[in-house]
């Protein structure tokens, strides 16, 4: 059942416990998981790891997830990289903004592990 085998995922998130939880779920499904917790250096991290998929938090220290997403979409290398956005702010306009900036999926914390896994699988293999 290792559907994510061979896939590299980069988790950009600042809350250590949440990083640990998502890492646990995704690595169990076979992916290689990298994590990064600073917004300002997120773009460099993406360039360095060249992940197949990015899990991106909105409220990051240093830089907002939306700004990072915009930069990713504007760069040729990452324009097509699937992005799953996570946010603890569950308002309608957050979802709209995320999709407008080019997120492929949007999920509100707290999430169910199964949903996250399914979303990542879908994005990583499409």
């Amino acid at each position: 059942m290792s559907k994510l085998a061979g896939k590299t995922v980069l988790i950009i998130e600042d809350e250590p416990n949440i990083i640990e939880a998502i890492s646990f779920i995704l690595s169990r499904d076979g992916s290689t998981v990298h994590t990064h917790s600073n917004g300002q250096t997120a773009i460099e991290a993406v360039a360095e790891r060249a992940p197949d998929l990015i899990v991106l938090d909105v409220m990051l220290p240093g830089r907002s997830g939306y700004d990072i997403l915009k930069d990713l979409r504007n760069a040729e290398a990452t324009a097509q990289t699937p992005v799953l956005m996570l946010t603890a702010r569950g308002q309608m306009k957050d979802r709209e903004m995320a999709l407008e900036y080019g997120a492929n999926k949007f999920m509100t914390k707290p999430f169910s592990n199964a949903d996250v896994l399914e979303a990542v699988r879908e994005l990583a293999t499409s």
């Binding site: 416990n17 949440i18 939880a21 603890a88 702010r89 914390k109 592990n113």
Partner: protein
């Protein structure tokens, strides 16, 4: 009744009917607008003939028979006015137009500040002066009836004695005519087309009648001009000596009366359609008078010669044709006299009724009913009604006077008495028209003095000796004071009674008028009216003439009063006059003063307007004072209005500002609320995410090592604690912010509170806490638990965030006269400058911290310290993070 008297009555009635018809047609033509022919210089000139009453028609011959050529004075006076002074008349007309003047009383009272006292005085005097004159007209009609009766052998004595009835019915018929055509409507101009037309017709009739009689006398009786001249030379008339004082006195009197008689004012000034008519009348009316006087002497001479001794010379005009077998001519002559009488009575009663109604009846009625000055439809009815009753009253008064006086005195005497009475208006009238300095008090004083002297010296004695004034008083003066003898006032004896009375009454009247005017200060309204009336021609060519320095200052003063208000303007002018060393209110218009005035005015009307206004008055530019005052009036109104608007718009701006402030606050609150909810959501969801994720892993995934399991459980636990703490803090903050917190005041000491806080913050593992306990020994009386909570928070922050190698927290306590200060200073990096301002806000957290709280701790601290009565602040520049708690010294007084 005899045939001739019957016939005469029929003729009279027929003639009056003709007058009704003419007046009616004229009114109708005027209404339908085909009235151009109605109003012409000729009709105007003919209407002036109301001057020639029955006294002139019959009386002039009598006058000539008694006093020779002296009768001419009565014609010379008006001629002088018309020829030499018509421009003065034009001024009266112009003033009357611009001020909507309806009578001589109205003109004088308007000029002197619309004083009703003056109007009432003049009205009463006019009534007193005119009533005998109306009686005189009634008498002339009855006398002429009598002349026919005397000449008619069939007349019975009882019919001769029935004069009173004749007079009564004539009076009533004239009242009816005057009411019908004098008060048809309330024209703002007070013009009466029908009446004027009828008067013009009567003017023609009387001239024609007199000329006819004259021609009959000269060519029919005397036998030609040459013969006539020799007879005149032979008669006693040619031997009459000219008495200069009497001539001058009478010419003056008739000229004065021509201007001041109410009926003359009515036709001259009120009824005039166009002031250019005056130019025509200035030569045409003297011509009319000349024709009227042409045959007076021949008729008198032949009358004296031919008629039996004792025949009344006042009736020669009638008696000569009658006695010489010319009944038709006699009837014509009768109609001439009748015309003279009726035209005078009609116009005089219109003029008097206007005065009585406007100045006596209406003010009383308005006061009684409290209607105020609103002219509504109802009031118009009242005005018309009061006019009609006034007309009736005036005529009845004339009739009563006729009955009482018994018709005894010579006609000419009554005429002169009347003239002298109304001549008393002259000083006030002319002074008012030409002299700015004339005042109301002056007019009242002059009129009173003149009227009293007239009454005493002329009117009362005119009833004859022992009628009103006894022979005793006439000879020796009242109470034996000879200086007050009616016909020899102040011991001036030997003058003709009329000349004597005119001299003293007009002389003292004028003196009192001038002196009182000089010594009284006019009210602002008087000054204004005075300026408008005296300067009525100001915007014509004559403008500059009377603009000396003082007149200019007066203009400036009037204008300034309008703009600055009376008191301020007078004060300003008086100070300026004082500064110039001049007594009174009027400074010289020096450049300095003008500049000062301009500055003052510009404060009210703006610099440009003020400059223009002052410039126009000083420069005598082609703008009248009137115009300027209107401008000033407008400006004052506009200013008031605009200042109201300004106040309103200021108020609106204030309200708008308030609204936008409130709106901004609301928006801010709304933004804050959104941000707060978003923050809370984030703060709650974050630990819940971890809890849910790990609990799902523990539930769903197999093959997790025990070590991993306990690690995950620990995370779940710590995140649960974090959630709980967050909820506690939120609730605490909410309670504090809403002010629902109960303070639990206790007594203790600072050192104990700090000990407790340090202990409660948990064992200071790495953090060293530096204290000077001896300085902390300060008593406290406050909510010690809450204070302790703040200290715990500050210590915990230092534990969490101090990033020094060897973290230290120094607690310094200091006391001033008003405050107790407790500083918490650590040795870390401190808080960046940009974040210092926000550190006490909810959910404010510094970036890049290992340990993250919800960001509520310092917000709670601020609320708690605020409740206690102190402040908490971040102190920059202390090396590390430095917080200072300041408490009022009162809390240390246990």
């Amino acid at each position: 009744m005899s045939n001739s008297l019957n016939f005469l009555a029929v003729v009279s009635i027929g003639y009056i009917a003709l007058l009704f018809f003419v007046a009616f047609m004229a009114e109708r033509a005027a209404l339908s607008g085909h009235a151009r022919w109605l109003r012409s210089p000729l009709v105007y000139t003919l209407s002036l003939s109301v001057y020639c009453t029955a006294w002139t028609f019959y009386g002039a011959v009598g006058f000539a028979a008694r006093s020779g050529l002296e009768y001419l004075t009565i014609y010379i006076g008006p001629t002088l006015i018309m020829v030499g002074w018509w421009w003065a008349l034009r001024r009266m007309v112009r003033v009357a137009r611009s001020q909507r003047i309806t009578s001589v009383a109205d003109l004088i009272s308007s000029r002197f500040g619309k004083s009703n006292t003056l109007a009432v005085m003049i009205t009463l005097m006019a009534v007193a002066g005119t009533t005998p004159y109306i009686a005189l007209q009634l008498q002339s009609v009855t006398l002429s009836f009598g002349a026919f009766a005397n000449a008619d052998p069939s007349a019975t004595p009882s019919e001769l004695g029935d004069n009173n009835a004749t007079a009564f019915w004539v009076a009533m018929a004239l009242a009816l005519f005057t009411v019908l055509f004098g008060t048809r409507n309330l024209d703002a101009n007070e013009r009466h087309h029908g009446v004027v037309m009828a008067i013009a017709l009567e003017a023609v009739v009387k001239l024609f009648a007199l000329l006819s009689v004259g021609i009959f006398v000269v060519w029919g009786l005397a036998g030609g001009v040459g013969e006539m001249v020799t007879r005149i030379e032979a008669s006693e008339i040619s031997t009459w000596q000219v008495v200069p004082s009497r001539w001058i006195g009478l010419i003056f009197l008739s000229a004065a009366a021509f201007l001041t008689l109410p009926r003359m004012f009515q036709v001259l000034v009120v009824e005039i359609e166009d002031e250019r008519y005056l130019r025509f009348a200035s030569w045409a009316f003297p011509l009319y008078l000349l024709l009227m006087s042409l045959f007076v002497v021949p008729i008198a001479v032949i009358g004296l010669e031919r008629l039996p001794a004792g025949t009344n010379p006042d009736l020669f005009v009638l008696s000569l044709p009658l006695m010489n077998g010319q009944p038709s001519l006699a009837i014509l002559s009768f109609l001439g006299g009748f015309s003279s009488a009726t035209s005078m009575v009609i116009v005089a009663s219109i003029a008097l009724s206007t005065m009585v109604s406007n100045h006596i009846v209406m003010p009383i009625w308005l006061r009684l009913t409290g209607t105020g000055a609103n002219v509504s439809g109802d009031v118009r009815h009242v005005v018309l009604l009061s006019r009609r009753f006034s007309i009736l009253g005036v005529l009845l008064l004339g009739y009563v006077y006729y009955r009482i006086s018994g018709g005894g005195a010579a006609l000419a005497a009554i005429g002169l008495v009347s003239f002298a009475g109304v001549a008393q208006f002259l000083p006030a009238l002319l002074g008012g028209l030409f002299w700015r300095g004339a005042t109301r008090s002056g007019a009242i004083a002059g009129l009173s003095v003149g009227f009293i002297i007239w009454l005493w010296c002329l009117f009362l004695p005119s009833f004859g000796p022992d009628e009103v004034i006894s022979t005793q008083v006439l000879a020796n003066g009242p109470w034996g004071i000879s200086l007050l003898r009616p016909q020899a006032l102040f011991g001036i004896d030997g003058l003709d009674p009329v000349v004597h009375a005119v001299f003293w009454s007009i002389g003292l009247n004028t003196l009192a008028f001038i002196v009182t005017s000089l010594f009284s200060f006019p009210s602002p309204l008087e000054r204004l009216q005075g300026a408008q009336i005296v300067d009525v021609f100001d915007h014509t060519s004559s403008g500059q003439r009377w603009r000396g320095g003082v007149a200019q200052s007066e203009d400036l003063m009037i204008m300034a009063q309008r703009i600055l208000g009376a008191n301020e303007a007078q004060g300003l002018f008086q100070r300026a006059a004082e500064a110039q060393g001049i007594e009174g209110f009027l400074p010289e218009p020096t450049p300095d003063f003008l500049n000062q005035l301009e500055r003052e005015l510009s404060g009210s009307v703006g610099a440009a307007t003020a400059h223009a206004m002052v410039g126009q008055i000083v420069g005598g530019a082609a703008v009248s004072v009137d115009d300027l005052i209107a401008v000033a009036d407008e400006a004052a109104q506009i200013m008031e209005y605009s200042s109201q608007l300004e106040a309103k718009s200021e108020e609106l701006a204030r309200t708008a500002r308030k609204l936008s402030e409130v709106n901004e606050k609301l928006t801010q609150l709304s933004v804050q609320k959104d941000a707060f909810l978003s923050q809370i959501s984030h703060e709650l969801r974050t630990p819940m995410t971890s809890i849910r994720a790990f609990s799902e892993i523990l539930r769903d995934e197999g093959g997790i090592s025990g070590e991993e399991q306990s690690k995950m459980s620990a995370i779940i636990h710590s995140e649960s604690v974090r959630l709980t703490r967050l909820l506690d803090d939120l609730l605490d903050l909410s309670v504090l912010e809403n002010g629902q917190v109960n303070m639990n005041i206790e007594t203790g000491s600072l050192v104990a509170v700090l000990d407790h806080a340090i202990a409660a913050a948990g064992r200071p593992e790495k953090l060293r806490i530096l204290r000077k306990r001896e300085r902390e020994n300060i008593p406290l009386k406050t909510d010690l638990d809450r204070l302790s909570q703040v200290f715990i928070n500050l210590i915990a922050n230092a534990q969490k965030y101090c990033d020094a190698e060897v973290p230290e927290l120094r607690i310094d306590v200091s006391k001033s006269r008003s405050n107790l200060q407790i500083d918490f200073v650590d040795n870390g990096k401190g808080i960046p400058r940009a974040a210092q301002a926000l550190v006490f806000e909810k959910f404010s957290r510094l970036e890049g911290q290992k340990e993250s709280g919800a960001g509520l701790g310092l917000a709670i601290c601020r609320e708690v310290i605020g409740r206690i009565g102190g402040t908490i602040s971040y102190v920059p520049g202390q090396g590390g993070a430095a917080f200072r708690v300041t408490l009022p010294i009162a809390l240390t007084r246990v």
